[in-house]
Subunit: 140 residues, 3 copies
């Protein structure tokens, strides 16, 4: 349960619902792994949090995404006794794993993209697993 | 179309909408593949079903997720003549593929996590493809 | 930012919101890479677009998915000044990466499945990165 043959990033969230830009931390982990090129798996081992990629330039964007996901939760009676079913729902929608290209020792993202840890039931201390998957093969 | 160089898990769903915990079946498939460490691809070859990861301890959680996704479907006129457009919509939202870490011959998940086959147009007999992707490389 | 050791597919979208079937273009890219078997990463480097898999046989299905996602956007005040926050929200929900099996030099999908580029803020000229991840190992 400790991220095995990879690195682990600790993310401290500070609100109930929050998208946290973790691009720099993931790049640090890639350095720790000595990984320069290929494909990396980012994995969220929690059930009320998830991962996504979106614009990192304007914090209003990821704030809008966080509030938008919250507003999408239907107004219904959930059964889960802990009262955080809507956090589980949003985590299941976004999913726990991201597979991303790596080049030159860093995540190779689109111009405006960053990686976000999506907290739906914070504030908490969370983990993000970083696992090398492969070195790219093939021409092109 | 038969899962190629991997294992295949058959999932028999018993309701129109249902999240089925398939963690044990996927671990059995890993044993069948002789895979002990690395990263595995789980793939759903259907267009009205999907895969996700969430809490497996309390069945109310995945029941809430199933009902919550259903309640999120907008009340609108769909054109698809088969009448199951909302199932396609939910399948597209959750997506067909999950990439998961493997260690010690089993899925390496968070403490509370399990893998769920998400049925949106059942009951049916469904397939889930299990494909080894890599052995983890790198230090850490 | 140019797709590194892989192929790149250009997708010209023709509407604000649109799901475009790119299965044939991805298969062409696999040929260009000389990739015959294994697992491929499809990656969308944009923040108002995403990727998914669903039924390609009936265009009404992916049209319904596009309109359904649009109808799910909550009626709320977004802060992002460019006015396209709802496109960012849908892109984050669907996610930028798909991992798909390859066999016989083509995507190995379910009978009814195709790969879709999901435009949420078009029309634009978009890119889709195609990266070989691995050759399948293991028995089965």
């Amino acid at each position: 349960m400790n991220g095995g043959a990879g690195e682990q990033v600790t993310v401290r969230t500070s609100a109930v619902e929050q998208l946290v830009d973790v691009t720099a931390e993931v790049n640090d982990a890639l350095r720790g792994l000595g990984m320069t090129e290929g494909v990396v798996l980012l994995y969220c081992p929690h059930t009320t949090a998830a991962l996504t990629v979106n614009e990192s330039a304007d914090p209003d964007v990821y704030d809008d995404i966080s509030r938008g996901l919250s507003a999408m939760v239907p107004n219904m009676r959930f059964r889960h006794a802990e009262g955080n079913a809507s956090a589980h729902l949003r985590a299941a929608m976004l999913g726990p794993s991201l597979l991303l290209p790596v080049q030159g020792g860093r995540l190779e993202l689109g111009t405006w993209q960053g990686v976000f840890f999506c907290e739906f039931d914070g504030p908490r201390s969370r983990q993000l697993w970083v696992r090398p998957v492969s070195t790219v093969s093939g021409a092109g």
